[in-house]
Amino acid sequence: MASIQIIDLEKHFGEVRALSGINLAIDKGEFFTLLGPSGCGKTTLLRTIAGFYHQDKGDIYIDGELINNVPAYQRNTGMVFQNYAVFPHMTVFDNVAYGLRVRKLPKDEISRKVSAALKSVHLEGYETRTPDKLSGGQQQRVGLARAMAIEPRVLLFDEPLSNLDAKLRIEMREEIRAVQKALGITSIYVTHDQEEALVISDRIAVMNQGVIQQIGRPWEIYTNPQNMFVAYFVGKINMLTMHLEEGSEGNLRRARLGRLSLLIPAEGTRDLQEAVVAFRPEDMVEAAATGRKNEITGLMKNVSFMGSVARFELDVEGQLITVDRHRPREADMPRKGEPVAFAVPVESILLFDPKSGLRIGKGAQR
């Protein structure tokens, strides 16, 4: 049985449609992420589950119980806030104990549970500290311990790492993931950081403009995006709107943009004169590697050295195409303004219908 089920959820703020047609089923113990740009509705959805907003339409079930009319304070969802929301007038212990005291647990049980929660976030010995003596990362650990201590039916994370610095963010996400798996608590995690989402999640729902665009495992989302938005939002991708020539060459079809000519999978393109041809920077290869098939030539516009990767930007028919090269060597770097040639293997190509934005054909082969 699904731990959380959401059916046909809809929410408006005045004239603005914040959520529409939301359907979700999240399994027990699953780490589920809501990913999308700011304003996409992911936080609204999370806050509706927590009970801070009330939906205009639709149902929310937790563990099979319909909670539409359960007030926020009775929903037993443990929320971890973006700005920590650690009570500044209480010690670390009192913060973590707050929810347990509300539940009127006996004293010794409270202190046992607080200790366990603090231990799992590596904050043993901090019980008597006040929040102003803690770093941002430590405050967020208190926030996490406090939410876990009440043994909620679901943990809700509202961009919990966005106020932390880059290194700590990576450390903390590993920790959150480890704690969540150890306790097996169903979790919903909101983020706009696609890398964070790929790393931490069992499954991801990509959202845009109040609508779920795609739900899938991180691999599926990345390699098999169902529409242009998902392809564009998760990872980096080149997109060219190309004219399709009549007739096919076996299971391939020829697409043109100015002097650029590419062979693309023909499947599903029969009724189209145009298609959006998309491929990821890391799938681009040296022109020689494909025997100059699907060659893309252009002038080097920009070279950025990023450490493990060098990123090239080529001017191809007036559009910028990004190419990543791994393990770059300084001696091999092309110069700005130099003509260069790369190729895109046909099996790396994703096609989209330019009108609907929907995917055509199979996913990319990895």
């Binding site: 703020f13 801070f52 907003y53 009330h54 304070y73 806030f81 929301a85 929810g99």
Partner: protein
């Protein structure tokens, strides 16, 4: 609390959190089930209607009733605009307020600049003394200048003995002198605040680009403090315009609008207060214009930065340092002098109204034997008023900060009305409105307590709302999320976080209530007399000893309150100017 109401609350909370416009959320789930906060909003409207709109409307109505025939007529208004007697008071009010504002700026800016930019010894002492002068009852300064520069004032006699005849103190000179030396701290404190929050690098950038320091002051520093100076100037103008005590005591025959309204009311006591009402409305209109200007000014851009680089405090040497010290100490000395004189006189031996050589506690003894009730009244009334102010103010402040809906956005500006109602006007409004059914309160302690309550309410509501704006709504959400119902969350999370702000605000309310004169003097009867009223009457009757002793008690109370707010609540001088 019902779920719908709960949701409504959360919605308001969230909108503050997400930075989206609040009104977008404000109409949601409107008016479903009643909860405690609906009750608070309703009570807010009831207070406004009964204690503000009703009395003010009554004044308005009386201004259009003919005094003898008691039918609708424009006769009062015609009389006001045709008789020089009335127009002169209007003109006097404007002149006094303008002069006071001008001289306050002249004193305030140098004091602010020197104490924030140069090393002046004893800056804290200077600030404390000027705040004490600011918070002391308005009439004390006036009365003290009379003892110094009145017909037989010791300073006048001193100057006479060396052949200098000072101009008479009764009239405009005395009012402007007393007003300026009381109100200039508004300018100096607000300007000092602005000077301390200008990012040092802006002035450094100007010098780096080749500007000399004088040019930097005029091109960079001055434009950045102008919003604060004008803000302070408008407050000074407003305070001076609506001040009743000072012109009453030291004004002589020089009438300004508040004293004119008071005189008219007391002389019209047997008829309908037509002229007093007309003058009240004119006074209120003037005050409203200033308030509107002030709101407009404060909504404009302020330049306060996040204090990345505090300005450097320069150390002056030799003659420059001596001059800067002299200016600062002279200003503060002049404003503290009247207070010191009062305290000095309170310990002089007396015999009836006259002072005798030597020192003693005669004046205090007289108070405690003759009029202990007055002292008790003052403490009791202001204490009850403060309990009301703090609790009602906090609840209404919470509603305004956290529960935006249509009703609240109507209530919010209504609660600010007392800002623009001078005490004299409120007093007249209360006496005309509550002297007849359905509500008869004339002559009771209740009406005086209510005056304190109403006059102070906007400050209390504002302060509670601004405290709440600094408390992250996510903290309350966290409480709710952890299973705590809204009431318990308010009690265990919100209230403890607001506590110190509420208490320090309440202490300031207590001080202003203790010192209230302009409204209560219209409303008191023998058994509800308070210390400020007794002081005024003693001065009028020439019992300077009693007046000094009572004034000293009020000064001590003011000083102790300031000390508590400063030490225990760690609040800076901003608290005092916002009070």
């Amino acid at each position: 609390m019902s779920r719908a109401a709960e949701t409504r609350k959360r919605t308001a909370l969230a909108s503050a959190n997400s930075g989206m416009p609040r009104n977008r959320f404000s109409l949601q789930h409107r008016g479903r089930q009643a909860d405690i906060w609906t009750l608070v909003i309703f009570a807010g409207f009831a207070i406004v209607v009964v204690f503000l709109i009703y009395p003010l409307f009554d004044i308005f109505r009386y201004s259009f009733l003919d005094k003898t025939t008691k039918v609708f007529s424009m006769s009062n208004w015609k009389e006001f605009f045709s008789k020089i007697y009335y127009l002169r008071a209007f003109w006097h009010s404007i002149v006094i307020a303008l002069l006071t504002t001008f001289f306050s700026i002249v004193l305030g800016i140098p004091l602010a600049f020197f104490t924030t930019r140069y090393r002046i010894r004893g800056t804290n002492l200077l600030t404390t003394l000027s705040v004490l002068a600011l918070l002391s009852p308005t009439f004390i300064g006036a009365y003290s200048w009379i003892t110094m520069l009145g017909r037989n004032g010791f300073l006048r006699l001193m100057f006479q003995s060396i052949g200098i005849n000072l101009p008479p103190i009764y009239g405009p000179l005395g009012i402007v002198l007393a007003d300026t030396l009381q109100y200039y701290p508004f300018i100096s404190l607000m300007t000092a605040g602005a000077l301390m929050t200008i990012d040092r690098s802006l002035e450094e950038a100007s010098e780096n680009l080749g500007a000399r320091s004088v040019r930097t002051f005029f091109d960079i520093t001055l434009p950045m403090i102008i919003p604060s100076v004008t803000g302070g100037a408008l407050i000074v103008f407003m305070m001076s315009l609506s001040n009743f005590g000072t012109p009453m005591i030291i004004g002589g025959n020089y009438l300004v609008l508040p004293t004119l309204a008071y005189n008219l009311y007391t002389s019209e006591i047997s008829e309908t207060p037509g002229m007093a009402s007309t003058v009240s409305i004119i006074l209120m209109l003037c005050a409203s214009v200033v308030i509107v200007l002030q709101q407009w000014m404060s909504s404009r851009r302020k330049y306060a930065s996040m204090l990345v680089n505090r300005p450097i405090v320069k150390k002056l040497k030799g003659i420059k340092s001596a001059m800067a010290h002299f200016v600062c100490y002279l200003i503060v000395f002049l404003s503290t002098l009247p207070l010191a004189v009062i305290v000095y006189y309170s310990f002089k031996k007396t015999s009836g109204p006259v002072f005798k050589p030597g020192f003693g506690l005669d004046s205090y003894r007289q108070i405690f034997f003759d009029v202990p009730k007055t002292v008790i009244n003052s403490f009791l009334y202001s204490l009850i008023a403060v309990l009301l102010i703090a609790s009602v103010g906090t609840l209404l402040g919470f509603v305004i900060a956290r529960k935006r809906n249509t009703a609240v956005s109507v209530l919010d500006p209504l609660l600010m009305i007392p800002y623009m109602v001078p005490g004299t006007v409120l007093g007249i409004g209360f006496i005309v409105a509550f002297n007849k059914p359905p509500v008869v309160l004339a002559g009771t302690a209740t009406i005086i307590i209510l005056t304190y309550f109403i006059r102070r309410l906007p400050y209390s509501v504002r302060s509670a709302a601004s405290i709440l704006k600094q408390i992250d709504p996510a903290l309350e959400e966290a409480g709710i999320n952890l299973g705590s119902p809204p009431g318990r969350t308010f009690r265990t999370i919100t209230l403890p976080l607001m506590q110190s702000g509420i208490i320090s605000g309440a202490i300031m309310s207590w001080v202003t209530s203790m010192n209230e004169l302009s409204a209560s003097i219209l409303l008191y009867v023998g058994k509800t007399m308070t210390m400020p009223i007794k002081i005024y009457l003693s001065v009028a009757d020439g019992y300077f000893g009693t007046a000094s002793a009572m004034s000293t008690i009020l000064l001590v109370v003011t000083g102790v309150a300031m000390f508590i707010v400063n030490t225990y609540f760690n609040r800076g001088s901003e608290t005092f100017i916002s009070a």
